[in-house]
Symmetry: C2
């Protein structure tokens, strides 16, 4: 399947960067081995590397080759990985499993997991800053500010806070869940797309289209994820089925039902496809087929 | 006392920024109130605002007015505050008190404390990025990379990891403790100085002098802190005396004794003073007197 191969090719670029250049960076800087171990355990333990792929594809769509943007793209995986480590902590979602293996704090203990997350988040911004001068400083700073906003208190971290607030709460509306998910998962996916476009120094209306693609894909992805938590295969999703319900999470399926959730996911995917309809080439094809692929898993 | 007044004046600038502009920034972005509360509890709960003062003073020393560098300087306080919140967590140093009040997780719970720390760290880089274009993009990116390195896996977070590794361990040498402290406390203090100089676009040798000042002041400060943990006044230091020993921490006093620790602190302060000896003006006077003041507390 072409889109899966293409996603795997982007993922291989990212994984190579993380294992080789980022690993060397950590060691040459004098990072303690007791910190490198939990960082690499979580970072190199698989994953689709979706966010870097989006950043690379949007840069490519606007003429910037992957080599110039790879560190910045990989920084999204550093941020995503830190968020998974912290979300799994006992004080948060208390998940023992992640991608079919013990979560970071189960493997290394809580202190090391907290610090590994802190370190991955911090390194992400260092890596981003070093995208210059291969990419002009102004574009790098604009993209970095966008990434920080998306990952920060009004984005991903704020979304996780709302998720905790809403868990087990009654009277939470579908609109509230949608807004929470737009922060928790959507903001970083959107930023990966937007930053690819910004780093390629494309026109403002193209940055807007990248944003529209990203937020629609993010919503489609999250609704599909919620659906898979109800009807999915434990081996495929790497965690127990029904864990959202067991934790009292308010999700799209729990509030709108499965059929309507599927409709919403399909509508979001359509919007994403339309946002990049005007482009030719392999990056555009990838982005369109990816949006279809995300919802094909649940339709 | 002139140096205390001057430090208080810098601290007031920083506190105003954090309370007004940063607070407004959080609210306008749509940060959940449940996240703003623990962020502001820790951020606005006092503190000397030492790191921002160093950044402001080094910028001023090289001709850049505080107004242009204040957001970047305040970002060091965001990073410092996040590190205190995470260090106090039960899985880490398990401190119930901070600056004479309940620590963040005692006041808000662990999940909110972890997320407040994550958010403060992330926002710090967003704030730094927005120092441009008042300061040229290239200088901002160079300074941001410096700050990320200092706060990251080979700097502050790595130092905290080593501190945990060494706590209760036997056979830890004075050189190991010094290297650990240089990462845990020294790196961010050094970076605050270096970034002030970089943002003012001063000559490379002046950046080197800022680094020398910062690392010497950081060492003097940390040794003095260790000494105060043994002989200090609980009200003044805001936590119980003897807590290092109670936790089995290897410190300068525990490994070298009090008299030799005092000698080392004085020698570091002398180095710091010499690093800025060639400059005139109030910023230079502040930096020299600050180095003396840090060790006056223990001599």
């Amino acid at each position: 399947m072409w889109v899966k191969d293409r996603l795997a090719a982007y993922a291989a670029l990212t994984a190579d960067y993380l294992r080789d250049r980022f690993g060397r960076r950590l060691r040459e800087a004098g990072t303690p081995e007791t910190l490198i171990a939990p960082m690499e355990y979580s970072l190199l333990g698989g994953g689709k590397r979706l966010r870097p792929a989006l950043c690379l594809a949007f840069a490519e769509l606007h003429g910037l080759p992957p080599g110039k943007v790879l560190p910045f793209a990989a920084a999204f995986e550093l941020i995503h990985t830190y968020s998974l480590i912290h979300d799994d902590l006992p004080a948060m979602d208390d998940d023992d499993l992640r991608r079919g293996r013990p979560s970071c704090h189960k493997a290394y203990g809580e202190a090391q997991a907290i610090l590994a997350g802190d370190a991955l988040l911090t390194e992400a911004f260092g890596v981003m800053a070093e995208t210059a001068p291969a990419v002009p400083e102004k574009a790098v700073l604009t993209a970095l500010a966008e990434a920080a906003f998306a990952a920060g208190s009004a984005g991903m971290v704020g979304g996780q806070m709302l998720d905790m607030d809403y868990t087990g709460a009654s009277g939470v509306s579908l609109a509230q869940v949608a807004a929470m998910q737009a922060k928790k998962t959507g903001a970083l996916i959107r930023a990966a797309c937007v930053c690819g476009a910004i780093l390629a120094e494309c026109a403002p209306q193209d940055v807007d289209r990248a944003a529209l693609y990203g937020q629609s894909l993010g919503a489609a992805f999250q609704i599909a994820d919620d659906i898979l938590d109800v009807v999915g295969d434990e081996t495929a999703i790497g965690k127990p089925v029904g864990s959202d319900q067991a934790m009292g999470k308010n999700t799209f399926p729990s509030l709108a039902g499965l059929p309507q959730s599927r409709e919403m996911a399909l509508a979001e995917a359509d919007t994403a496809v339309r946002a990049v309809a005007d482009h030719d080439g392999e990056a555009a094809r990838f982005l369109r087929e990816l949006a279809r692929y995300v919802v094909d898993r649940v339709s």
